[in-house]
């Protein structure tokens, strides 16, 4: 309490600063990055959370492997120089030597073991275990630069999963930390909660020194303010500005943000159990009419739950065409067979999910009504929405179409498909044993076989099951100060590596 009162006093005194307004660091190698969402934790094992990952991932804390979601390099070495499979369940990782943490300690296999144990520990609530599901991970130190990692049951993509586990020193406590220590090219120099986080370049980094010497992250909820900060030179990069503010061709650019916007079809209630009705839902929506009007012109039509850069993405699947007459015919056909096509369908959306979301939802409602569906639109705030989106679903619900966004920039569909389509998936709207088997087979496969299995699953879901109404591959807009070089990519939503920022 005494310390708390002292912190109150210190905060009160902080207003006494007198200086000229902050402005661009035109000649320096410092950058200011304005993010839309504040950071409440700087915990390495939470870096899969986008607001934390954008500051921390690969800047402060690195991983054994790194997936190239933009190019075609696939899985790349980071703290592990190489890896090989010992048996079905065990992979051996050969670690990089002469790597130091920002506290001066040496990096070795004990750190990797501790990082894995810590990330999977029940003493913390790390996000990491969600990517491993029920798989048990055991790390065994072979020597200081070699470690065996075993997955039970076997996990075909274990090296890819290691791109999620951030490495911390072996003396990191089994509780959330606020001063992360890592092997990355930057260390945290200051964290003024609610105001900014400052990272400084390390002189003893094992890799090539990035150009940026110091990065200051500030947080502005209003995207118009973020855009204005880059315009005035107060900031250099605003990775998420609104489409309405992206008016300057010199500084603003659109980029795919790895979010897929779709509507989950609730097959647990009539009339959505009928495949013809699900097809009619897809045919009733004129997706192209939204592009360039209610959603940005750079938006593309989605044909899978994952973005096109994902392994096994099936390019043969075409977006559903807009054909209102065919939709009406399918509904009439179903009605003739006794399907309760007049049953109310609740269209559920999330407020503030993206700009114009309400207008998009109203337009979808209108299009569905036009072909004869009885649709009621309801918009929810995030907390209520999450309750509806996840299982268990309310037994007394009406049939639901739940419009949601899903983000997978990790390169493999495994991070999406179980959750969205498996009978036991927490957000799955149906149950199909064949889909379950296909997911399990693809999850266990490797190499080209894995890609093919995922590809087949996408086709089956779209053509045979008609599992959902896939709508858009979303885009974001970034504003970049002309003095710096930075190209936002599909990865920018989850991480923003300062090593990719340069100066003109």
């Amino acid at each position: 309490m005494k310390r708390s009162l002292m912190s109150l006093g210190a905060a009160l005194l902080s207003a006494v600063h007198l200086a000229v307004p902050a402005s661009a660091q035109n000649a320096s190698k410092d950058v200011t990055i304005v993010l839309g969402e504040g950071v409440d934790l700087m915990e390495p094992c939470m870096s899969t959370r986008s607001n934390i990952g954008r500051v921390l991932l690969q800047n402060i804390n690195e991983t054994l492997t790194e997936f190239d979601v933009v190019g075609d390099k696939g899985l790349m070495p980071r703290l592990a120089e190489s890896w090989d499979q010992q048996n079905d369940s065990t992979w051996r990782f050969h670690l990089r030597k002469n790597v130091k943490f920002s506290d001066g300690s040496d990096f070795d296999a004990e750190d990797v073991k501790h990082s894995i144990d810590r990330a999977m520990s029940k003493d913390l609530s790390c996000e990491t275990p969600r990517y491993f599901g029920s798989t048990k991970i055991t790390a065994t130190v072979v020597d200081p630069s070699t470690i065996d990692i075993t997955a039970e049951p076997k996990q075909a993509i274990l090296p890819l999963l290691m791109s999620i586990v951030t490495i911390v020193p072996s003396d990191t406590p089994m509780q959330f930390v606020r001063d992360p220590i890592g092997t990355g090219p930057y260390k945290m120099a200051a964290w003024n909660v609610g105001q900014n986080i400052v990272l400084e370049r390390r002189g003893d980094y094992w890799g090539d020194a990035p150009q940026v010497e110091k990065a200051t992250y500030v947080f502005r909820t209003d995207p118009a303010v973020a855009a204005a900060m880059v315009q005035t030179g107060e900031a250099d990069i605003a990775p998420a500005i609104s489409v309405t503010d992206a008016t300057n061709a010199e500084t603003d650019q659109a980029y795919p943000n790895s979010e897929v916007f779709y509507m989950r079809i609730d097959q647990g209630k009539p009339p959505l159990q009928d495949k013809r009705i699900r097809e009619a839902l897809n045919l009733a929506i004129d997706r192209q009419a939204f592009v360039g009007t209610l959603v940005p012109a750079e938006t593309t039509l989605a044909t899978a739950m994952v973005p096109p850069t994902t392994l096994g993405f099936n390019k043969d699947i075409k977006p559903w065409p807009f054909d209102a007459e065919k939709a009406k015919a399918l509904i009439a056909d179903a009605k003739a067979d006794g399907v309760a096509v007049d049953s109310k369908i609740t269209l559920i959306g999330r407020s503030n999910l993206f700009p114009n979301v309400l207008e998009v939802m109203e337009a979808i409602q209108s299009m569905l009504t036009d072909v004869g569906f009885n649709v009621d639109l309801q918009m929810y705030e995030v907390a209520e929405f999450e309750d509806i989106y996840g299982k268990p679903f309310a037994e007394d619900r009406t049939a639901q179409l739940v419009a949601a966004q899903h983000d997978n920039a990790r390169g493999d569909p495994v991070f999406s498909m179980f959750f969205k389509y498996h009978s036991n998936g927490p957000q799955s709207g149906f149950s199909d044993p064949k889909v379950d088997q296909m997911i399990e087979d693809a999850t266990a496969a490797t190499g080209e076989d894995r890609a093919k299995k995922w590809s087949d699953l996408f086709a089956y879901l779209n053509n045979d099951v008609v599992a959902d109404v896939l709508l858009f591959n979303q885009v974001s807009f970034a504003r970049v100060n002309p003095r710096v070089t930075f190209k936002p990519t599909i990865a920018t939503n989850s991480q923003l590596q300062l090593s990719q920022v340069g100066f003109k």
Partner: protein, 304 residues
């Protein structure tokens, strides 16, 4: 006076206790924090583990008993989102809000009292009409619109001030100016009305008859008697500001307690919500007490 203060403190204590009980149970009705802290794809094991770590599996009455016991030891619990003491999180935010409110309300009070008094001195004169128009515009302009326009004009177009943030005195100008406008309009109107009423009273006529100067009539004879309703409104406005200026904090990236409270409610960070409500409620009780004391000083009838 002592009796007045004691009575107010006692009633404030019971109000605060009732508030804690109410907010504790009502906040729990909003749902499970685990569902918001953990990702959608969290396994059941992760959800169970989170609830176990944070004592959310215990019956509500047990959780409440534990909370009250900790509170008696001045332990407000940990913030779920920030993994540090909730009271530290709240004090940081409240310090910013307190400064913002104190500076703004001081400037508003001075400006509204001076301009309102002068406007009331010549009702329907040019100064009065100008002040009325300005105050009505101020009282009716939406904060978020004024804030965005202010940024566009003064930060983007003229480049006189920073767009947002904290760090220097310059950063305070736009937030304070935007926050100033609405209460200024309201208080100015109250001052004007109250002063006009006082100018018509017998003691002012007597003063004029005795040849007292205009400045003395306004600021010595009339103002003190006209201040009672003004203090009430200033108190209301200050209380609203101590609760946090959410829009101002959001747009200007100001780390105050208002946005903290909204975020904490949305994220179900219960300990921060409770600590924030207690700290702001306590501040408002203290301020109300000061207003009561000011009343007593200005109006001898209140003291008896």
């Amino acid at each position: 006076m002592r009796k007045l203060i004691f009575g107010r403190v006692l009633s404030s204590f019971f109000s605060l206790a009732a508030l804690v009980v109410m907010v504790f149970f009502l906040s729990r009705l909003t749902g499970d924090p685990a569902a918001l802290f953990l990702p959608r794809e969290a396994t059941q094991e992760m959800l169970d583990n989170f609830r176990r770590l944070h004592g959310l599996n215990d019956p509500l009455i047990v959780q409440f008993g534990r909370y009250v016991w900790d509170l008696l030891h001045l332990d407000f619990g940990q913030s779920l989102r920030q993994a540090r003491p909730a009271i530290d999180v709240v004090f940081e935010g409240f310090a910013w809000t307190f400064q913002l409110a104190a500076i703004t309300i001081a400037l508003v009070s001075i400006a509204a009292i001076v301009i309102g008094s002068l406007a009331a001195f010549r009702p329907d004169g040019i100064f009065d009409r100008f002040a009325s128009v300005v105050s009505l515009i101020g009282a009716s302009a939406p904060d978020f619109w004024v804030a965005i326009v202010a940024i566009v004009v003064f930060a983007v177009n003229f480049a006189w001030l920073p767009t947002s943030g904290t760090g220097t005195v310059w950063h305070w100008i736009l937030p304070v100016a935007v926050l100033f406008i609405r209460p200024f309009g309201l208080i100015l109107q109250i001052v004007r009305g109250s002063m006009i009423q006082s100018f018509g009273s017998l003691y002012v006529k007597t003063a004029r008859a005795k040849g007292v100067g205009n400045t003395s009539i306004i600021f010595v004879h009339t103002l003190r008697n006209a201040m009672l309703p003004v203090i009430t409104v200033i108190g209301d406005q200050a209380a609203a500001m101590l609760n946090g200026a959410v829009i101002i904090e959001t747009i200007f990236g100001f780390p105050g307690v208002g946005k903290l409270m909204i975020d904490s409610i949305l994220q179900r960070d219960f300990n921060v919500v409770l600590a924030a409500i207690m700290v702001t409620a306590l501040a408002i009780f203290v301020m109300n007490l000061l207003i009561d004391i000011a009343y007593a000083i200005l109006d001898p009838r209140v003291r008896t």
